[in-house]
């Protein structure tokens, strides 16, 4: 078996002297320092806003741009009359690998529409954000495009979303009043979800 001997290049005297190498290192870091100092000062004066000085995103104030296919918190899409587009077919609940979706379907008053959900809960503490529910939905009723990343809560119960929060992503717990006009089940309308 052939043995390949790797030889490290001997350092030249110039390199062994170390000081020139320090200077070349300093040149790189100082160039960054001066460039950023210049750009930050210009930004303070409102100039050169199109050139970023730092790669940092100041997160809560300045969210990072998300990719178009990014899967963020779920939402239920809504018809023109304010009712959910969901027809209660249970496909998403069936396909969900984490079993985090709970749907209770009821008959829709419109004979052209099969059913609608009186309860639609997602337990985000269990959800794995795989996006299967979005892919499987025949009605484009559930999407993961709210851009909400900061899902955090002090209890497991608070991680559970009910139909109010899914239909209106701007809602935050605790929910104090029920604004949905169609009959449904929630804590505020005689149901059990969203404890």
């Amino acid at each position: 078996m052939a043995v390949k001997v790797l030889r490290r290049r001997e350092l030249t005297v110039w390199e062994k002297l170390y000081i020139p190498q320090i200077v070349s290192g300093l040149k790189v870091t100082t160039a960054h320092l001066l460039r950023n100092l210049y750009l930050h000062s210009a930004h303070r004066l409102g100039l050169l806003q199109n050139r970023r000085a730092a790669v940092t995103f100041q997160y809560p104030e300045e969210p990072r741009p998300l990719a178009a296919r990014f899967r963020s918190r779920h939402r239920l899409t809504v018809r023109d009359d304010g009712t959910p587009r969901c027809v209660g077919c249970m496909l998403c609940e069936t396909v969900c690998p984490a079993h985090c979706i709970t749907i209770v379907a009821a008959e829709h008053p419109d004979p052209n529409i099969e059913k609608y959900p009186v309860r639609f809960d997602i337990d985000l503490g269990v959800c794995v954000y795989c996006g299967y529910c979005v892919e499987v939905c025949p009605e484009d009723a559930i999407r993961m495009d709210t851009g909400i990343l900061d899902v955090a809560a002090y209890s497991r119960d608070a991680m559970k979303l009910d139909i109010h929060e899914l239909m209106n992503p701007s809602l935050r717990k605790p929910l104090l009043e029920c604004t949905l006009k169609f009959p449904h089940k929630c804590r505020l309308a005689g149901g059990e979800a969203s404890r």
Binding site: I22, V28, T29, T30, L33, L37, A53, A54, T56
Partner: protein, 370 residues
Amino acid sequence: MIDLAVKLVLALFVFFGVLNLAALHTWLERKQSALMQDRIGANRASILGWRLMGLFHPLADSIKMFTKEDIVPAGADRILHTLAPVFSVFFALVTFAAIPFGDRFLLGGRVIELQVAKINVALLYIFAMLSLGVYGVILAGFASRNNYALLGGLRATAQMISYEIALGIAIVGVIMIYGTMDLQELVRAQGRTLAGWIPLWGIVVQPVAFVVFLTAALAETKRIPFDLPEGESEIIGYFVEYSGMKFGMFFLADFLETILVACLATTLFFGGWQVPYLTSSGFQFPWGATLPLSQPVYVLLGVASFSIKVVIFCLLFMQLRWTLPRFRYDQLMRLGWLGLFPIAVVNVLVTASVLALLKVREVGWLAWVG
């Protein structure tokens, strides 16, 4: 009585100036490294919505340090454990007493030297205090009853003692040329010019000594690239068992030593408070122009010159600290003993020979050397 009051004012001036500069260093360290690495750095602490580029962070840090729990390990020597950070800060602070930060000025018929303690062997005093600083380090490692702390303390001690030798020999050349150990006189001697236009600063006559001094002095401050005693990212250092303000004092001592080294480099090699072509009666440019200045302006210019030089050195050290990787321990020892030490000795010999050949009269003990 008035003398005492003057000394007190000078001492307080230096004390608060140095401590504030050290506090500012914590901010500078974060901001400068951030700029070098295309980040933003500390900018969150605010008072009434004012952030001032994160300038309140040193304040927030000190509040945090003072209110944190102070933990002394079980079985540790309580007294030495407390004494070690005190030693570190104390010896770093008292050293500033011998640094002249301005020329003498007359106030009400009284000559005031802008130097807290006028010691005629100020350099010896400074080096004595620097050496005593080792005690803080070795005691911290020893009193913590932690093997890793002890090893860190031993590493730090070996490093500081090794580099102190190169440091001491490097400045012998400077002492020989200016013929004094009194820092105020040494700075005054640097006010002359060479060939009529080059300021006779230490860097001009002793460039090799300057490089050796700077390297050894950086090693004395125990910061990257010489931060093997602590190795804040992976190795455990001598202050591993310290928390709260005791840790804060080691932290402070580090910055104080950096400032001290900047002060020393300025004083010995960059003319201290000297401004090029500025004499006590005003500017006297080599091309013949003159600009008379009153005495307070002259003294203030000197203090400003000294401060600016020190700050520039601090910035340079910070820049080096965020540029270079850490040495390996054998590399550190090889650089100290086989690199800096012989260079410093040869520098002394060459300086002595040149002085002997030139028969420079000003050097008092030249007759004794050769």
